[in-house]
Symmetry: C2
Subunit: 157 residues, 2 copies
DNA sequence: GTGCTGAGTATAGAAAAGTAAACTCAGATG
DNA sequence: CATCTGAGTTTACTTTTCTATACTCAGCAC
């Protein structure tokens, strides 16, 4: 049998990323941060998600270093926490752009997308694409997956 | 208040994509298809996921047109179904490459990645990146999200 | 001090999802 | 005709998520 089918998948970067952002609401919370939300009540209002889950997800994202807390102070109110994205969180943008793009293509509203992503300054539409180190645009069919340094076989049972 | 915080998020391409691929196991099943699995028993063995969920996820992916069924026949056995990816499924590759890349960067095995993605032919390493239509590489900070044609405000309560 | 507000925590009940193991089904083999 | 095999289905149980409501806590206004 093809040995690739007996890979040990406990060691997979996709699975590990999903352990962090794969729970319900997590990516939608990040979307809201990108779109401008930062306060507990912002997330609650726009997402309509249960408060206890929202609190749990925010805590996890902060623990993972994807969000960080700062404080803000409305005049006449005390200081309260707000959530801002970190560079580690920004590095999730290509993945989420990929999801956005697929939804725009296959599950769009008849009127079109609700949100357009543009290159600030130049104003041109942006999208996620795959390129190789030499700068070629790579079609998904032309990606070859080969065992890397941490490749392991699945232990026999 | 910033009107963006009152957007109607029932109409979001990210949320809609997650409705299709956001459940547990779904993306890992697609990963296995990219890595060469096609049979029910392949997925079950490599993923270690419960059969009823595997069956439900495969059924859903086929209904959504992300996978398609074909039949295969081992000599001495009857014909059985196998699962192959469709072009619609291939269009999820940029999103999943984004997840892979983030995991490689932040949650890697000390030895390095378990799988390397190369450009078939040229052999160079590939990665997901964001570019604008004019071909500039766009940093996440330089993406501007503006209301699109289907932008809607959240209905007042 | 009393009340108000934003940001939570606590709790309880219902629904959905996940897990494990047993069972079915069809066609090939002996 | 009994057995094996891959691809599921069924069932029972556990965990997670959802919904809703109540409660806390700190500081500002009165």
């Amino acid at each position: 049998m093809d040995p690739r089918l007996d890979r040990d998948m406990s060691n997979c970067s996709i699975a590990r990323t999903l352990e962090v952002v794969g729970e319900k609401w997590t990516i939608l919370i990040l979307r809201e941060v990108w779109y401008g939300s930062s306060r507990f009540s912002d997330f609650e209002r726009v997402l309509g998600c249960p408060r206890n889950l929202l609190a749990a997800r925010l805590r996890m994202l902060v623990e993972e270093g994807i969000l960080a807390t700062e404080t803000y102070k409305e005049p006449g109110s005390r200081s309260r926490p707000k959530y801002v994205i970190t560079p580690k969180g920004m590095d999730l943008v290509p993945a989420v752009m990929g999801l956005l793009q697929w939804g725009d293509r296959y599950r769009a509203d008849p009127e079109g997308p609700a949100v357009l992503a543009r290159h600030r300054g130049c104003g041109a539409h942006v999208d996620a694409q795959i390129r190789c180190e030499r700068g070629h645009v790579v079609q998904a069919e032309d990606i070859e997956s080969v065992p890397g340094p941490a490749f392991r076989m699945r232990p026999a049972e």
